[in-house]
Amino acid sequence: MFYRENGQFKTTYKSDQQIFAVKQDRIAIIALIAFAFIGVPLLADEYLFRAILVPFLILALAAIGVNILVGYCGQISLGSGAFMAVGAYMAYNVFMRVEDMPLIVALLSGGFFAMLAGIIFGIPSLRVKGLYLAVATLAAQFFFDWLFVRVRWFTLDSPAGTAEVSNLSVFGWQIATPMDKYLFVLGFVVVFALLAKNLVRGPIGREWMAIRDMDVAASVIGIRPMYAKLTAFAVSSFIIGVAGALWAFVHLGSWEPLSFDINRSFQLLFIVIIGGLGSIMGCFFGAAFIVITPIVLNQLLPWIGSLFGVEISTSMVGHAEFMIFGALIVWFLIKEPHGLAKYWSMARHKLRLWPFPH
């Protein structure tokens, strides 16, 4: 009864083509963004910012990039960790080597170099498809793992490939406290999510989806596969690179190539699949799931153990976390292969009919 469109007439093309066509949706999303910018800083404590909200936002941003490549364009890529690393290390180089480089320009240039890397390692996608491409992108992953350790230039000649930044500030606003970091990252995420959503709604997004669904047919009707696939790799790597730079600068502060290894790639792929392939909203759901589940398991398992009077050692908790995480992923994939975004769209569908059952 609340979520109805009757009475909302569109009289211009512009109003018909907006992202949130239903007025209730618009109110909801503006309320959500206002809550994120104003409400959360008032309510959350430092631990919540540092350990949950900032990683959640940055991983959601990276997942948007991965989703564009895997979900919208259908190219399975296991090299996302490497592109995050490229973004992080190149942003570091630009930030440290150039005098008085503004922080935002440095982060975006990290994304730019990640985009170049993405285009180069995306060239195999023109010949190679499916699972072969997934393993070919692992070449990117391992190559960059090696590059940032061995080639000293990238880390300003530090011994083990470690890098460190401090003293971040934007237009005089010092980004020091966890709340500052949260707001800074939130700004990036809102802007990039909006850009990504508009991209995938537009002609280039439709080209990507055509390539995903049946690339031979797409090329027959006139979509250039090279252009579509390489732009998907480019846009996706840019976003992943910016997310990597944010992860390094804002979340970690000091990092090494191991922060961006193959486990990170798997984690991003998990987020995208659990959140829902081909859905920007799904990236946020997936990121929330992946960030919160280990923390919940970490607190829950010793508590359950104490209920039964059994003392569980920390290593046992670690192994049990692995087991439960793996079992949850498999269960989730069996239950809903289209991810959490599907549950969300089902909920909205039911909401339109509420209070009627059908």
């Binding site: 699972l131 997934a134 090696w146 061995r150 995480f325």
Partner: protein, 309 residues
């Protein structure tokens, strides 16, 4: 020249071991269409089972013979892999029939996490040793041709022979037995095989069990070389370029590609490595496979990918 030959021989022996792990991947992909990322975790689990049981059995049953302990531990580990194969088919594969490749891949990643935690919970997370009683001293061959002869590790030689025997047994099984024929039918076309009366579920259990056996043999061999520890799961990552070079659906491809990757990896590390700072084995294999894929997108021996519109 002698050093060059030694490098090649070492590469060939490594390559045989990579082929063994890659075989597990190819078997599962051929028969159930699943790219089994859990192969590495299976290697670790099987090796852990064998190492711990070889340790526990002499204590529980009170005998001394190393050979008997190893044989019994191998049998028990193989049985555990059978139970694992049955559990995977019953709880995972059956419910994910007909899903996209990415979803199945993620499911096997979930299985990987589960097996990692489960194996280390039951068997412990220290480094364990597998002692197969292999001779440890290296031997020198061809002393007439090269001064000092070529250095070959005896245990490398024995393990390479074991791996080749395993591959030969698998090939015989596939070509000569009824079950092997049924597995090949399932690999060709699931629906057609089902319509002829081949029980798909049972075939999947069998093929995952065979992949588990190859994982056990691979785990036994690698475990003897480097100790049974968590790093064993990364052996599977080394086998991935072997599969894509050889083609995901080809058993001889896995073997040939394994040898190629083994040799080229060693040669690259020895001759190109010092120029760029060393440590290039891991990505060299992948880049080599990727370059070959650019010319043959289906791998050297894989089925040609035919796109229908």
């Amino acid at each position: 020249m002698g050093f060059f030959l030694e490098t090649i021989i070492a590469g060939l022996m490594n390559g045989v071991l990579y082929s063994l792990v890659a075989l597990g991947f190819v078997l599962i992909f051929k028969a159930s269409g699943v790219f089994n990322f859990a192969q590495g975790a299976m290697v670790l689990f099987a090796a852990l089972a064998m190492a711990r049981f070889a340790e526990w059995l002499p204590e529980w049953l009170g005998f001394e013979s190393l050979l008997l302990a190893n044989v019994l531990a191998f049998a028990i580990a193989a049985f555990l892999m059978l139970i694992f194969a049955w559990a995977v088919e019953r709880f995972v594969l059956r419910h994910l029939v007909n899903q996209e490749g990415v979803v199945l891949l993620m499911a096997t990643l979930g299985i990987t996490f589960f097996i990692d935690g489960f194996g280390q919970t039951i068997f412990g997370s220290d480094i364990y040793a597998i002692d197969l009683g292999l001779p440890a001293e290296p031997i020198f061959i061809l002393e007439g041709l090269f001064p000092g002869g070529l250095l070959i590790n005896q245990d490398d030689l024995v393990t390479a022979l074991m791996a080749m025997a395993m591959v030969a047994l698998l090939t015989l099984f596939f070509q000569k037995t009824g079950t092997g024929r049924a597995l090949r039918a399932v690999a060709d076309d699931h629906q057609a095989a089902q319509s002829v009366g081949i029980p798909l579920g049972r075939m999947w259990v069998i093929v995952w069990f065979m992949a588990g056996l190859t994982a056990l043999v691979a785990g036994m061999i690698w475990g003897e070389k480097m100790g049974v520890q968590f790093a064993l799961t990364f052996v599977a990552l080394k086998a991935l370029p072997v599969i894509i070079l050889g083609g995901l659906t080809s058993v001889p491809g896995a073997i040939v590609a394994g040898l190629i990757i083994g040799v080229s990896e060693q040669l690259a590390e020895v001759y190109i490595g010092p120029m760029v700072g060393g440590g290039i084995q891991i990505w060299f294999a992948y880049v080599l496979a990727m370059v070959v894929l650019l010319f043959r997108p289906q791998g050297l021996f894989g089925e040609k990918i035919i796109d229908r519109v």
